[in-house]
Amino acid sequence: MITCSIILIFELMLLCLRILCQQNVEDYEKNHFHAHNCCFCQFLHSQISNIIPSSNSVAQTSVADSHNWTAFNNPAMLGYVVNPELGLEYENRYLVSELSTKSFQFALPSSLINSGLSFSHFGYSLYHEMLIGLGFARNFSDKFAMGVQFNYYTAFFTASNSYRGAFLPQIGLSVKLSPNFSFGFHSFNPFQTNINTKNVMKRIPSIFSLGTEHFFAPELVWRTQIDKEVSSNYRFASGFEYKMLQSFNVKLGAYGSGYLVPCLGFGFNLGAFLVDLNCEFHPLLGLNTLAAVKYKFGK
């Protein structure tokens, strides 16, 4: 019965979203798009999802992280939010400020449905991308949660000195099979919406993620995740988060996608404030750091 309901709701959601996303934006600028990011063209080619903020979950295993909602990650996790919360995140990729992603998120729970507003910015003056989203999610009796988010993506094209954008959705699901074990599914831009111009196509990431979360004990959780961006390699990730003290937790994990990237992080629970500091060690590109702060109202 539950399964049938889930499938029915999903079918309806997908139908609505498909109608919304039929329009692709045209642009006649073609010759300069790649020129502005040539320094990092190889990096950008393989990492086209920079506009999506990295999750502060260990090794970016957010898809099944039922205790943490991150902007533009699994929107079903918005359904588990109990108190209103406001979050800011800054990710500095490989110590190059031009490759940083800044994001903002706000969640507002209610008895009927939880809502969330998210914004993300990647790049610098000559090349940047932005993403804004409005999400809705609901927790169904703590057995499962579903979420959907409507996003508008835009990129700045220097040659024409103009922005071009597109609407795209994302959907998410989280199912708790037992009090200690759950899995999550998430799709960002499932219909592969892109920005098409006469001569060039700007690809927007289209990502499908599946993951698990297992609590060995209330203080220790293990997560795994598989991601597939349609034009990139699979990404496999796994990690542990351990609450050493009431106000301090440690995260240790790794992900592999071409290269194996170890990840280490720390979380601080300072009353209503949650602070996360994560770092990743890419064997070729170097250090990737992330800082996030979240304020929970009413705590």
Binding site: H214, F216, A217, E219, L220, W222, F240, Y242, M244, V250, L252, G253, A254, G256, Y259, L260, V261, P262, L264, F281, P283, L284
Partner: protein, 679 residues
Amino acid sequence: MFLICSCPARAQDVVSTTEQLIADIFEQYTAESDDAIDYDTFYEDLLLCAQSPINLNKTSREELERLPFLSDIQIENILFYVYKSGPMKTIYELQLINGLDMTDIRRMLPFVLIGEADKSKQKIYWSDLLKHGKNELDFRLDKALETKDGYQSLSQEETNLTQSNANNYLGNDIYNSLKYRFYYKDRVLAGFTAEKDAGEQFWGSAHKGYDFYSFHAQLNNFGKFKTIVVGDFRANFGQGLVLHPDFGMGKSSYVLNVSSRNSGLKRYSSTDESNFFRGGGATVRVGKFDLSAFYSNKMIDGDTVNGSFSTIIKTGYHRTADELSKKHTVNQQILGANATYTNMNLQLGVTLVHTLLNNRLILDKSVYNHFYFSGKKQTTAGAFYRYRWKKINLFGEVAVTDNGGTATLNGCYFSPISQVNLVVLHRYYSPEYDTFYASSFSATSRMNNEQGFYLGAEVRPFRKWKFAAYADSYQFPWPKYGVDAPSVGKDYLFQADFAARRNISMFWRFKFEEKQTNLSNTGTVMPVVVPLQKASLRYQLMYSHGNFSFKNLLEGNLSRQGDADWTYGVIASQDVSYDFKTVPLKIDFRYQFFDAVNYENRFYSYERDVLYAFSIPMYFGLGNRYYLNLRYDLSKRLSLWFKIAQTVYADDRETLSSGNETISGNKKTDARLMLKWEF
């Protein structure tokens, strides 16, 4: 309660003898390790431990570190349990210690006992030595049944050594070793070793006697001295960045065992002819400090010409006139010292080593060895630490050589709950760091030009199941041998162990490895490196029934270089062992089939062997191998081992091996005989 009562019985069922247990532990170490580990030392250390078991009620970290299958976390947990709960009353209390499962306890049983907690030292009397000291004499012979090219030339030329056969073997094709051991508990140890490799001349114009002799004597806990060692010995301190000629902890299916053991000065009794010191040393215990000093003076092999040499030769082979001409041409002196402070939660130490050669080492310069050591003398210094804070164990070492080369290794063991153990390790070895006897965690056997991260996890989510995994990401910032550009690599391993019943256990092991290699025949001036990938999956089943025990192995691998097609390898084997109860005879038999398309699909497969020997033959091509291994106790004091093994290739090859080792035909047969006399 049932588990507790059945504990010793299970140990007997699953591993019938201590020797077999040691071999199984060693197999786990070597199964996924590319490093050649000195089995002699490994075996002798554990066998001595079985003969003088560790008293858990008055043990120390250093003593428990002699058990290589125990992780640092397990050692800490044992010590913490005894400290917190007082002396153990029974061995069954081991089950109450966090992080020890039944498999670990079964492995520990032969090597530990529960005794008095009295830590006072007992004096050593000559009468006790004579009365309770034990002697052992081992004699071993190996012979290949097919004649190799190197010996065929000898028979044609007889004993006339001419320039034309200067590269042929001077001696016969028999390997022979003779070992004498004396030990009194673990307090007084002495021994003598003599060895002749196949092809080395035993008695003739070029050489007389055994090719290699070794002697050692060691006293432990003798007055103020913790250790006194004379003769051949090894010195292992810290994480091994400065000194660790013993086998180091590396990547294996024991995913948590990655930090080297600080075993100090210890006797050397192996037949490895290069990796040891010759001289003497002592460790004095002053309060919480252990102060060690040693001096070594020995001859090593090198291609010396006009007072300089370009290569240190470590094979220990002196079979041809050419090899003999390089024997003991360089004098190496080593002076070293160490101070280590130890208390309950903290260990700190410093090590200093100075090496002096009488001839100058001048390398044949190439890009890859640009930073390797050259010269006549080198000084290396390092400082190491280990600190326990709550559930976290931190460890590490930093070292520097006098040319400015630096190396550091730092890691952390972490046991958030008893079912989950984690380890993270980072190492950085600069290209300039190149020292003689360092051995620590590394992706290659040479400890320089590398940095990387290692993550390991061992999880016991359900009863009877254990999951272990590691991931290692590393890079070589400077070209290395066989790779003409800076390169990166990664390894993953996942193993699931299932102990179905007391006499049935199995595991699945998946391993993936990717590293970069030169692409040959590119025709380009600039080096082209491409990834070399290898994935393997192994299933192993072990079960016993009555006097029979069985082992099945099935393994497959896939390998490819760059964008080339994947090539495959398959190996399958059946082992049967039978322990006769009416006669003191034990038989091991194996049949093995292998089909590995090329060298990159090669397999290493451990097999049972005579005492102190350990075979991990390598296979590729199509063929099969079988062996028969016997142990017969002629009397209570005299035992005999005999092994015969044959590999038959079915892929139409007409010769095996190359150079002097070439065998005509498609068969290779080896026989071994070993005698042990205890008195």
